[in-house]
Amino acid sequence: MPLLQIEDLRAYYRTEVYGISRSVRAVDGVSMELYNNEIYGIAGESSCGKTTLIKVISGTLKPPLRVESGRVHYDFGAFEVDMLTIDPEELRQTVRWKEISYVMQGSMSVLNPVRKIIRTFEDIVRTHQGIPNKKLFLEQTQEHVRRLGLPPDVLNLYPHQLSGGMRQRVAIALATVFHPSLIIADEPTTALDVVVQRGVLQMLKDIQAESQNTVLLVTHDLAVHANVADRVGIMYAGRIVEEAPTQIIFNAPRHPYTEHLIRSLPTIGDKSVKASLGGAPPNLANPPSGCRFHPRCPLAMDRCRTETPEMITLSHHHRVACHLVTEAEA
């Protein structure tokens, strides 16, 4: 059984102002599975719906974001949870932070600026589990932090006394206190320097390898996915357009969008001219008909303008939604 099964998920932002209703279809027909013991990378440009997808699967959606249809089902081994119907109190007590935790970009928003790091640990542990023995809690927290390779002294510092990379590593330490089944990392290293980014991602990889849990890594930076993820899903305009093991995505992409993204990445040692894609990412309030990539696709056919391509599965768990591939395979 996969850890997480998402079936045909649709989540829209619906607003009604002065009688004019508007819906932004941020996630529109996503189906995917996450397995135990893997790092799954989601790549996509800004406003492709990746953050909305995370909000739904972590159960943190708020109006005007609403789930229109679909299924988000977790199997944590000991118990199963349907994210779209679970009672909020039960979610808080049994799932949040214990089974699903979250590391976000710029951890200043997780760490309270006027409290020492240890107090933030205390808050989280007290909320989700309670602290019957304070001395034991202190010892365990120090041990946890030390095991992740951080100096235990950081616990007695305030967030502003730490560098950006250190703060982000503290956020990862916070996210792993209960050894969750799923860690969602949303752009965890985007504001960091390359050397620090490398250190933070190495730490995340080590934790995953040790605890054999699942990491959902969301970043627009394909080079990070190439080095960290086991499988990668490419999102475009609210849909996953291609998904495959990392090697395949980078060596043999099939969707024209993925192909373009990978081909246009500059890299040290390569001075050949890289072309840019015309047009701009679509507005999700009014997305293009048919395949949403067709206005920018150099290979678009008539069919692409009217018909939405189905996701088809090729060999080696390679899934892609493109009429060209469907026709080539048929």
């Binding site: 320097d193 490398r198 995505i249 890289k274 701009a280």
Partner: protein
């Protein structure tokens, strides 16, 4: 290269800031003894790369005459920036040196139409008397960046995509026909599929408009792609500079080596190399106050001398390296 024939000549520039309280404070050397020159006859893209806190934006402020250096001087077309005092001289300088900033949504006010900025620039710098005269000039600049006045007319910043609006800000910089464009992280806010359009634009400006570009970035991959020469900064110092292929294909300074190796490659075949464990400094801020080489605390080749005095600039293999390791090679 003589200082008089240069477009821009940066001569031992140092900028220090006072930090802490009035009584118990210290000095922070944000830019430390930086020198380089851009040739007037041969337009080029010169990259200044470094991590956050390396002093690259402070250096940019000096080059834009927004901040006076504590020591040293900057000559632009032979004229010392310190002698620019009158409004007329300042306008003349701004006409020739134009900036492009990181976040185009901050550059443009959300309450104003973007075209207003373009018309204003054209009129301010004397290229047109009124809006009607300015229209063809504005249109010409927009066409250079792959847009047109009709596409931009009556639009507010939020109605344009990140890539489009960044191209508008490059077009704005082109209106006064500058000799030098200083771009501070111009693509870090732009989406991957649109990023190369902006990057390629700078190449086109160099080749077709003969404009030199100073490209300030933390992204070594795009720096490699577009620039001719590169200077790597660390805590205020330029630690290695030279032709970009030499510096990044085969870095010599231990810091450049670490930096180059840490850039994740967009292929799935070099994962092992990148996964090699690295030490992270816990208190990066302290490196500023370090005596001698700023990298000595993390350097695998550290020697006693590195911790005592600043390393010299050594010319080796066609580039300049600030490191004791290469002192013998140079002799």
């Amino acid at each position: 290269m003589s200082a008089s024939g240069a477009l821009l000549h940066v001569d031992h520039v140092t900028v220090s800031f006072h930090i802490g309280s009035f009584i118990a404070g210290g000095r922070l050397m944000a830019v430390n003894d930086v020198s380089f020159s851009l040739d007037a006859d041969r337009p080029e893209i010169f990259a200044i790369a470094g991590e956050s806190g390396s002093g690259k934006t402070t250096l940019a402020r000096v080059l834009l005459h927004d901040l006076d250096p504590t020591q040293g001087k900057v000559l632009f077309e032979g004229r010392d920036l310190a002698t620019i005092k009158s409004r007329r001289d300042a306008m003349e300088f701004m006409r020739k040196v134009q900036p492009v900033f990181q976040n185009p949504f901050e550059t443009f006010s959300p309450l104003r139409r973007v075209e207003d900025y373009l018309f204003e620039t054209a009129i301010q710098f004397g290229r047109a008397k009124n809006r009607r005269d300015a229209a063809p000039i504005v249109d010409e600049a927009l066409r250079l960046v792959g847009l047109s006045l009709d596409e931009v007319r009556q639009r507010y910043p939020h109605e344009l995509s990140g890539g489009q609006i960044q191209r508008v800000s490059v077009a704005r910089a082109l209106i006064p026909k500058p000799h030098l464009i200083l771009a501070d992280e111009p693509v870090s806010m732009v989406d991957a599929s649109l990023r190369m359009a902006i990057v390629n634009l700078f190449k086109k400006l160099r080749d077709e408009q003969k404009v030199s570009v100073i490209y300030i970035t933390h992204d070594l991959a795009t720096a490699y792609y577009i620039s001719d020469r590169i200077a790597i900064m660390l805590r205020g110092y330029v630690v290695e500079s030279g032709p970009v292929e030499k510096v990044l294909d085969n870095p010599l300074h231990p810091y450049t080596q670490l930096l180059q190796e840490s850039v994740p490659r967009p292929t799935a075949s070099e994962r092992e190399q990148w996964a090699k464990h690295i030490e992270l400094g816990t208190m990066e801020v302290k490196e500023y106050g370090r005596i001698g080489c700023k990298y000595a605390g993390r350097c695998p080749h550290v020697m006693d001398v590195c911790k005592q005095t600043d390393p010299p600039d050594v010319e080796v293999e066609g580039r300049t390296v600030k490191c004791y390791l290469y002192l013998d090679d140079a002799r």
